[in-house]
Symmetry: C2
Subunit: 221 residues, 2 copies
DNA sequence: CCTGATGCTGACCGTTCGGTCAAACGACCC
DNA sequence: GGGTCGTTTGACCGAACGGTCAGCATCAGG
């Protein structure tokens, strides 16, 4: 009988307080866990949490359902792991906004990076949109603490820029909301945008100059 | 045996081609059908289609599940009836945009009405948001035909205003997208907005002057 | 007060879903 | 080639869900 009664949760035992044995991941573990998270992102983002089934995720990952549950203890755990591991990437562009940069450049760069993320990562956008739409039952805490802290921090920077006359005096929080709303709209409501535009359009390519103009005019002192 | 084998579908037999008997609704029918649609709006908008259960809707409507299914043939039918009966109200503000009005006034009025609808009808907004997010499986046709026709019509008007120099030259479709995105964001992502702002804020009250400024600056020739 | 149509319900059904388990498989090392 | 540990699976389970049905309750009109 081994000292450590595996197979208890190959994931998640990683960035915690001093654990007895971090136990590095097997090649097979890494491959399968990655496949599961990729498949789960595909299914959860398209169907929502309740709409997705373990069989769909297992099939998309090329595994059987029991095998999937060998790597994750529950459907909920997969969803949570997805949300937590993707949140950092999702907020990275905002984190990179620097008080020392040129104000208009910093904001415009942030907006463009967010639009690019909506284009390149629509599934992640829809995953979060689904979660927030349902009232953020699994993220309310994170939003009210971590996200709020980050946003308040950047809002203070923006407020400083406005006070110094570098940009027009706008409400910093709602400026950020408007960037989120406008960029994520093209990912979350993609089918509606394409239905309205009709064939032969590239929504993101058209959105870029439009949003450039919009925010240029809004921010010009 | 009566000529008309009721109780076949108290709803829906109304604005069709010449039917044998429109059969007016009983007081009880009207009351219960209204209660069901109200309850279904509450539940579907909060949980999505798959996340909602007939028991939840029945309980919220103060009925038993079989009784609910006496008035509607299926869960799908309730959802469809909701979407169709609410779509008109949802698009009404856009329909009222007049080519004969003052361009800036017309657009600003539309934006304000949309924001007001997000404030007063957040459940409807989330119902549609859920549907679009999942790829609009039940509305793709309507979007590509009816909505596209309406939008193209209004886009032509806006394009005319821009060509006449009444407003700044902006892409009309993306102008409408930006109005949708910015106003519906406050309904659909309400929990996130409130989590970030913290207590003691009225998101919609703050959004109004911000969006006023934003669109004033965007549209000024 | 009778009667037929409308309104309502408890019990039930088949399916789907999240999750479990004992057993088998397979790769690697002695 | 035998033991071991990580990996995989078929079969199964209980709960939840959408939906059905036979029969009872209620109501309006004569």
């Amino acid at each position: 009988m081994p000292a450590d009664p595996m197979p208890a949760d190959p994931v998640a035992a990683e960035p915690m307080t001093a654990e007895p044995a971090p136990r590095p991941l097997t090649r097979i573990q890494k491959r399968n866990i990655d496949a599961i998270l990729e498949a789960a992102l595909e299914v959860f983002s398209a169907q929502g949490f309740r709409g997705a089934t373990l069989d769909q995720i297992a099939t998309a990952a090329g595994l059987s359902k029991p095998n999937l549950l060998y790597y994750f203890p529950s459907k909920e755990a997969i969803h949570l792991e997805l949300l937590n591991s993707l949140l950092d990437d999702w907020l990275a562009p905002l984190r990179e906004m620097r008080a020392t940069g040129e104000p208009r450049d910093e904001i415009m760069r942030y907006m463009r990076r967010k639009l690019e993320m909506s284009r390149a990562m629509p599934r992640e956008s829809r995953l979060f949109a689904n979660e927030i739409l349902q009232g953020a039952p699994r993220m309310a805490g994170t939003l009210a603490v971590d996200l709020k802290a980050l946003v308040d921090d950047k809002a203070a920077i923006i407020r400083g820029w406005a006070a110094a006359g570098k940009i027009a005096p706008v409400d910093p929080h709602h400026l950020l909301f408007s960037i989120w709303a406008l960029t994520q709209h093209y990912a979350d409501f993609d089918v509606q945008v394409r239905a309205v535009l009709g064939p032969g359009h590239d929504p993101f390519a058209e959105a870029e100059p439009f949003l450039d103009t919009l925010f240029e005019r809004l921010l010009r002192p």
